[in-house]
Amino acid sequence: MNERRGPSGSTLSSLPCFIVDRMKKRLLWSTIAALSLMACVRVVEVDLPEEKPKVVVVGHFTSEEPLRVYLSLSQPLNATTLPPTLSDGDVTLAANGIFLNRLELKPVPDGRLFWHSRDALRTGVRYTITARFPGFETVQASDTIPVGVSRVSMKVKTDSIRILEDTSGLHVMRVPISIRVDDLPTANRYFAFGLQHELRKNESPPANTSEFRMSGFLANGRTLALTYGTPEGIYMLNENYWNDARKTLDIEVVIPYRPAEERPVRLLLEWRTLSEAYYRYHLSLATQGSPLSDPNALFNNVQGGYGNFSGFARLRLSANLPE
């Protein structure tokens, strides 16, 4: 239960976090068992109320892009195969209650199949998706792309950049940055951020070939505790992060690279303003990681089915890194 994938925890670089996760479960149970002196385990068969498969809608959408949504079926917990991709149904999108598009099942560049809208979506419009598949209950979900914050700045503290080196030749550039949100709203402070860095390949002759990689980061304990990894590779901030009239997020971006082959040249920040449905859904997912902590009920805004259909606004910033 509670298999956790994705980048959560990768804030502390990938290998140690794998170790942390392994240690977490192993040592957690070991501690509780041993301290409880006599614990033992027994595997039993359980009868949970059986439920017919329901249509699952998963889609996060933003402005100036068409909707791409994943439609599948829910499965019993002991299912070992991937859920089937739903293809022979009628999926429509309405804008502010008026029919907009009939969605088409098409592959995205990496070959995975998603239902696409023809039109790009817009901020402030309430979109409603309705999916009808024979044999299953019709599902419907609605959400809006929120108006995103616009006065966001990223300051790289170039004086404090450090480069650490290990004996295998791997360098780690540690880049302290400060992200400031000047137009922080008084309520609904639902934000997430993603970090990438651009590595320029050392080529001769120079060809300006670059590779973009996701960046990890370090932060103080409070920031780490109020940050949740998401399957989208971005980090969501708990709304309480902004208590105390705080307007900045201070982190230290960790960029590993091999100087013989590449060098970091640019840091890219994606700042997302999330709808409440987006935020609540991922917040409820964040409590599914610990075996003994009470998981929260899954936030579900899909009527008749499961999943999450939610919008977000996106702002992209970049900063050059010193040579």
């Binding site: 599948s72 995975r112 370090l218």
Partner: protein, 893 residues
């Protein structure tokens, strides 16, 4: 009305003058006045003296005046003084008779003993937690009786001509029935019964109830009371009438204890050999108690025997203990001297120590449950220990100094060497985990009894709870291809948290008159919180220490939060009308932290009325609150969960409770039914983060204020208790029907859900049979509905089109705590054998915990696997305590 003048004037003294008077249904004052006029007697008195005297019919024929006046004035609180040719009738003066009730053998004071005036009036009272009592009595000779369950009553005659102090020494009587947990009859008989709503239990009662490890444990005993819930086998702390585990105030000799249990809640830290009495209030506690919102478990340590050296040594299967007590600074006193000397100079000490020897058992389990928790190569070591010391010094008859010390803790170590095979080679992990936690407690108390009967208690207190752990991992890969060993990871974490209090308290107890007893006092506490400091160290192969240092600096939480807490309280128990009593109090407290002040106003009210011959009915309203909160990943009252203060973002927890009940206590039986409704207007929960780091179960507390969420809760229930104390048999049956809910805007979609420790039905039945003077058998059967649990019903795949996204399985948790674990039940049995030699006493206890080996799961874990045979979903149940044999030998001298 007619009078016959038949006076004879002679030389006899005035007292012997013969007078006559006849009257039917006359006022006493008129008769006296008439005699004075007719016989020309100079008689002075105040008419109001006889205001409460009923009309009387008299027929005196030439009887001595003294005899006549004594009979006429017997209805009033007056005395007759004789002077030459003059009679003066004066009002009786009231004086305070105070004292203590002690165990004659050990000198231990008896808490809750009844002291009754058996002549003249029917005044009575019960002793407080120091065996102290006081009564307001009119001058004159009074016969007093002191009673205590399991002791022979003692009477004494006191000539009250001023404030007076007496001491009762009751002889224990093993032939009497001993278990009366709720002495309703005594409380009803007492005009201002001090012990109103609390449930008292003694060490003897606890010792005779089968318990885990054959330890007489006040926390496990408290968990058998109706309305008190706990997790499986005690794991998860006590939950009183729907309250959280951190809402219980555990007091050891007046000092708050932050972690009252060893082994994550399986056993309490309170060593039975040192305990005098324990008392549990389930929310309806008097105003002198404060600081917690659900209950009070007030545990009193014994003082030690001031008359003779003694002690006991006890060894069970898992733990052993020793206790030594005796007089201090003086030679052994002879019993005859005791009476003559009074209590002055009776100094005593008591030292007890306990520790476990669990390693053989852990090794056994390690072999048996290989693959479950303890893997091949595990080296597990666990122990707990506690040491208790108490010194008593009586510099004067009215002053008493006590020094109480406790220190104890738990120590856990686990070293694991684990090897995995992979295509790259053999991966060898060396884990090392260590955790240590414990309490340090000290109290210096000065009790003074003023001549007026005022009892004053002044205490300086210190309480500290700490938890610290460390874990290390050294991971190496032995490559198949190169044959070389390569360092994969070297990882270390350190964690610590603590709460420390220094406090002072003064408590004044006095009775302006017998019908009214007042407590008033105040407390100041200086708290220091260190909510959780984590340091982390990663050292990858060849990694610069710079990185590790920096990371350690980034994650080390050096937060240390001071806070001041003040409280003032007053409570009164007033017998306002016949058979009725009003208990009312107010507790005012304030909490200062970071230049912010929070205040709580907590009124407490309880009315009780004697009904029928042996019955009592009561109803109450109590409001409680607290400034301290324990929060953690599990919310299971584990030691690594953090004690944190109230702050602007973690406001004080508050609760109110209304309760009403009726009790009936005919000879040998007690029946009690009580209903309650409790509302928790602010209850807190901690939102865990999967990104936050864990160390031996403890979660980094950084940002704790912003991870606390507030909600509400409510609980209602009906509690039934039946107890029988027959000649050789003690029966106890309790049943609780209850519901406990929580509601948080941020959880469960804002909908209410059952509290994690909600058990609708709880049934406890215990029986003890005395077969011979040296042999008892006991049995305890416990049944409870299963704890609610949150399980996922189905799952789905979360997948989005973004390039950086990776799919994940999402488990659909429909509603929090919507499933229930199987019902909990178990049978414990024990057999006590006692042998008494000339100098020594021996006791052997043989028994079994969970005698029919019921597999009671404390947690169920669904990992999505299915039975290969049936294809049905399987769950892993974690079972805590299977059948456990119990054997304990105790040796007393």
């Amino acid at each position: 009305m007619s009078f016959t003048p038949a006076a004879t004037y002679g030389q006899t003294a005035l007292q012997q003058r013969l007078v006559s008077a006849q009257c039917q249904q006359c006022d006493v004052r008129s008769i006296i006045q008439d005699i004075a006029v007719r016989y020309d007697i100079n008689l002075s008195y105040h008419p109001n003296f006889f205001a409460e005297c009923p009309r009387v019919t008299v027929n005196f024929k030439e009887e001595p005046l003294k005899q006549v006046l004594e009979r006429l004035t017997s209805c009033a609180r007056v005395r007759v003084e004789w002077a030459e040719n003059q009679v003066i009738i004066r009002a009786l003066r009231q004086y305070t008779l105070s004292g203590r009730v002690l165990n004659a053998e050990t000198g231990e004071w008896l808490i809750g003993a009844t002291v009754r005036v058996s002549t003249g009036s029917s005044e009575s009272t019960v002793t407080n937690e120091y065996g102290f009592f006081s009564l307001r009595l009119y001058e004159g000779r009074h016969r007093l009786m002191a009673y205590y369950v399991g002791y022979r009553p003692q009477s004494l005659t006191a000539e009250v001509q001023g404030d007076l102090s007496v001491v009762f020494r009751l002889e224990p009587d093993a032939t009497l029935p001993e278990v009366i947990v709720q002495d309703i009859a005594a409380a009803a008989a007492s005009s201002t019964g001090y012990l109103s709503s609390g449930v008292r239990f003694s060490t003897n009662e606890m010792r005779r109830t089968p318990m885990l490890g054959s330890e007489a444990d006040p926390m496990r005993y408290a968990a058998l009371q109706p309305g008190v819930l706990t997790g499986v086998d005690g794991l998860g702390g006590l939950h009183v009438r729907g309250g959280n585990a951190d809402q219980n105030l555990f007091l050891l000799d007046d000092v708050p204890v932050y972690n009252p249990s060893h082994a994550l809640g399986l056993l309490s830290i309170f060593p039975s050999a040192s305990i005098n009495r324990a008392q549990l209030w389930k929310g309806d506690f008097p105003a002198r108690y404060g600081g917690r919102a659900a209950s009070v478990l007030d545990i009193r340590l014994r003082d030690g025997n001031p008359y003779a050296f003694g002690g006991e040594a006890s060894a069970g299967l898992f733990a052993g203990s020793v206790m030594v007590e005796g007089p201090l600074f003086r030679k052994l006193a002879q019993s005859t001297e005791r009476q003559a000397e009074g209590e002055k100079g009776k100094n005593s000490f008591l030292i007890s120590a306990r520790r476990t020897y669990l390693n053989p058992w852990l090794n056994l389990l390690n072999n048996r449950y290989q693959g479950a928790f303890f893997l091949s190569g595990d080296n597990v070591h666990y122990r707990f220990y506690d040491v208790t010391m108490k010194v008593n010094f009586k510099p004067s008859e009215r002053d008493h100094l006590h020094l109480s010390l406790y220190w104890g803790g738990d120590l856990f170590k686990n070293q694991l060497n684990q090897t995995f095979s992979s295509s790259a080679g053999l991966l060898n992990d060396q884990y090392a985990l260590g955790a240590e936690w414990g309490n340090n407690i000290a109290a210096l108390r000065w009790n003074r009894t003023f001549k007026s009967g005022i009892f004053v208690k002044n205490i300086l207190r210190y309480s500290r709870f700490y938890y610290q752990s460390q874990q290390d991992l050294l991971s190496e890969l032995f490559s198949f291809t190169s044959g070389k060993r390569k360092l994969v990871a070297n990882y270390a974490q350190r964690y610590q948290t603590l709460i420390e209090d220094v406090s002072a308290q003064t408590d004044w107890e006095f009775r302006p008159f017998n019908e009214l007893e007042i407590h008033a006092g105040g407390t100041y506490a200086f708290h220091t919180f260190k909510p959780g400091a984590l340091s982390v160290n990663f050292l990858l192969p060849g990694q610069s220490p710079l990185l590790a240092d920096s990371l350690t600096k980034a994650l080390f939480n050096r937060e240390r939060v001071p806070a001041d807490e003040f409280s003032l309280y007053a409570d009164a128990a007033w017998a306002m009308w016949k058979g009725g009593r009003l208990e009312a109090g107010l507790h005012i407290s304030s909490f200062e932290i970071r230049n912010r002040t929070f205040r709580l106003l907590q009124p407490r009210l309880r009315l009780s009325q004697r009904v029928l011959a042996y019955g009592q009915a009561w109803a109450g309203y109590h409001r409680m609150g607290q400034f301290l909160h324990q929060v953690g990943t599990f919310n299971l009252n584990f030691p690594f969960e953090l004690w944190v203060p109230t702050t602007p973002r973690a406001l004080p927890e508050e609760a109110w409770q209304v309760s009403a009940g009726i009790g009936w206590a005919p000879t040998g039986w007690t029946l009690r039914i009580e209903g309650y409704h409790k509302y928790l207007s602010r209850v807190l929960a901690f939102v865990s983060s999967t990104t936050a780091l864990l160390n031996a179960g403890a979660e980094d507390a950084s940002g704790w204020e912003d991870r606390i969420i507030a909600g509400t809760g409510w609980a209602k229930g009906l509690e039934l208790t039946v107890e029988g104390n027959l000649s050789h048999t003690n029966l106890s049956l309790s049943y609780t029907l209850s519901q406990s809910m929580r509601q948080f805007p941020d959880l469960n979609g804002g909908l209410a859900f059952p509290f994690r420790f909600d058990r609708p039905h709880v049934f406890n039945f215990s029986v003890r049979q005395r077969l011979t003077s040296w042999l008892d058998i006991s049995a305890l059967w416990v049944y409870a509905s299963g704890n609610p649990i949150t399980l996922a019903g189905v799952k789905f795949r979360h997948q989005t089109h973004e390039e950086t996204a990776s799919p994940r399985e999402v488990f659909v948790y429909g509603s929090i705590n919507s499933f229930r674990l199987p019902s909990y039940h178990r049978l414990d049995v024990s057999c006590h054998l006692r042998f008494e030699g000339r100098k020594f006493q021996h006791e052997i206890l043989v028994g079994a915990y969970n005698a029919y080996n019921r597999a009671n799961p404390f947690f169920m874990y669904l990992d999505g696997s299915a039975s290969p045979e049936t294809g049905r979903l399987t769950a892993t149940q974690y079972i805590l305590l299977p059948f456990l044999p119990e054997l304990r030998y105790t040796f007393r001298f």
